[in-house]
Symmetry: C2
Subunit: 363 residues, 2 copies
Amino acid sequence: MKKIKVNVEPESYEIFIGNGIFKNISIEIKKRKLFRSILIVIDKNVYDIYKKEIVTVFGNYNYKLEILVLEIDEKRKSFESLDKIYSKLIENKYGRDSLIIAIGGGIIGDIVGYAAATYMRGIQYVQIPTTLLAMVDSSVGGKTAVNFGETKNVIGAFYQPRLVLIDTDFLKTLSTDELVCGIGEIVKYAFITDEQYYNYFKRNIDRLFGLDEKVITKIIYQSVLFKAGVVEADEKETGIRKILNFGHTFAHAFEVEQNHRIKHGQAVIAGIICALYLSEGIGILDNIKLNEYLKFIYPMKKYINIEEPDTKKLLDIMSRDKKNKDGKIKFVLLNGVGNIAIDIEAERIQVEKAINKMKKFVE
Amino acid sequence: MKKIKVNVEPESYEIFIGNGIFKNISIEIKKRKLFRSILIVIDKNVYDIYKKEIVTVFGNYNYKLEILVLEIDEKRKSFESLDKIYSKLIENKYGRDSLIIAIGGGIIGDIVGYAAATYMRGIQYVQIPTTLLAMVDSSVGGKTAVNFGETKNVIGAFYQPRLVLIDTDFLKTLSTDELVCGIGEIVKYAFITDEQYYNYFKRNIDRLFGLDEKVITKIIYQSVLFKAGVVEADEKETGIRKILNFGHTFAHAFEVEQNHRIKHGQAVIAGIICALYLSEGIGILDNIKLNEYLKFIYPMKKYINIEEPDTKKLLDIMSRDKKNKDGKIKFVLLNGVGNIAIDIEAERIQVEKAINKMKKFVE
């Protein structure tokens, strides 16, 4: 098992990464003596598969314990689902000394984190991500959120978990679609971290899809380590943390424009392709590098399944993105692997061109 | 004009207290250069009276400015009202560089503060309290909240304003009922601050009700100064800040039990009476002091209009209070003026007795 410590105010917390570690969660909770009443909020898909394990792990917990099973997806990352969590807490008289454990993908993590941040002005929570996407990305960093209407993650809070437990065994029951989701973010880390990690990823992409234990643990560890470092430096995303949004201004727009029909990983890979083309289009990335990077992404393009995106609508959605001020669209772009430019404004025509080139690339 | 600086993380902010200072708000906003797009959220009752002044003050603001007029009361301190604020922000494409200005009583302040805390994970806000209650209490301290179902303030965040502007001119159009609301909190400060302030208050109670300019400014200043000191020492209410809840465990229960028909100030005065009786009942306050304090409160008892409270229901509501853990009810009690005991657990029978004595006192 690997451990990463994240140093943030007011309290640091640990991330555990390994296989077969979920069974120890109860021990870790007891060891920390931080809480007594526990509410587990779990994705229905995960619960259906792991019900037995969960009952075994928490079966002998001798204080208040409730399980809330949520059917969740991007459309249901809403105030309606949030209401269910709040209602469960209130009806069962959970006090300030309570702990919520989120078991599921990024959507469960985000919404549970937000509920924890706002219930009684903040109770503790633990993240147990079960998807590759949540493991490498959303479970770390303390960004919590819910959607409001069509606007993704527009309501939220910065709120850190007390512990993140990443058990790679959960990946064994993950669909290829869900795996691609996580790989989208990992591709992002390959671009924003450094050449070494980029090359390791390039060499091991087949083993990654094959869920090779060693490769998957190393890749999760590297991604989380990088993200934790960035979060420590800039918890509230006023500066350097923005590099984590590489490809994401486009990706969020694709998700909304495609009515959340496509997976986040697909959207991120498409978004990265757009960002690469835009970087070249505005002259900060040279053509040779662009082609090399596109070659690297080429094997993954088969997973992108975006139906005829409406470029005008995409631009409108992007101008509403919470990262933007004054209606101007700012991008995170690339000079080269590990060399990121933030807050780059681009002309509408350049953005359109980048989107159109991406469309052609994935055809 | 008096100024108080509140030193909290990540940024300190100022509180201005005086008469005729509202007209300078626009200058203060420009001086700080902290924001561009402004949303004013204002209580309909206040807007109906001060529409002309508000248009004059903000009329020449040369950037995005919208006004959202809300009909608000305790029942509407809800997710429905919150939705209206979020929708206004999203529809008008407010970004992270936005400022919300709350103009109204404590309910507007709490809900706008919560909206500011959670919109895009936090935008700036300014408090302009227009009721005595909001001036002496809720506009300072960064506690933001909304109700959920029957449970008051159960959803919220600690989030500090950038500026609080207290213009006592707003009090001139306040009803006696609303004035009593604020006086409830001031009575609390009289008990928890020190003998000097207690005696000043006792001597000047008639002038306070008469809105004597000097007395009202001094009393607001003293209350806010005391509260700001407590908030600085314990922003997140893990310790000393609890003293601000003197009388409030009872008060919140009365408000819910009476279905929000009674005003907060009434509930607080009744709650303080209960807390005094309970302090004596469990033996930490002697009988002589109890009688002296009750005599001090006596002139205000005419404002308390609680209909036959159901003691059992009150106890149930109190056990749900977010300040309590493990279903036990903890109280903030009094050894004497300026001498507060926090986290005191009391037997159910003692609590019942205190409530019954209060009922008799206000008959």
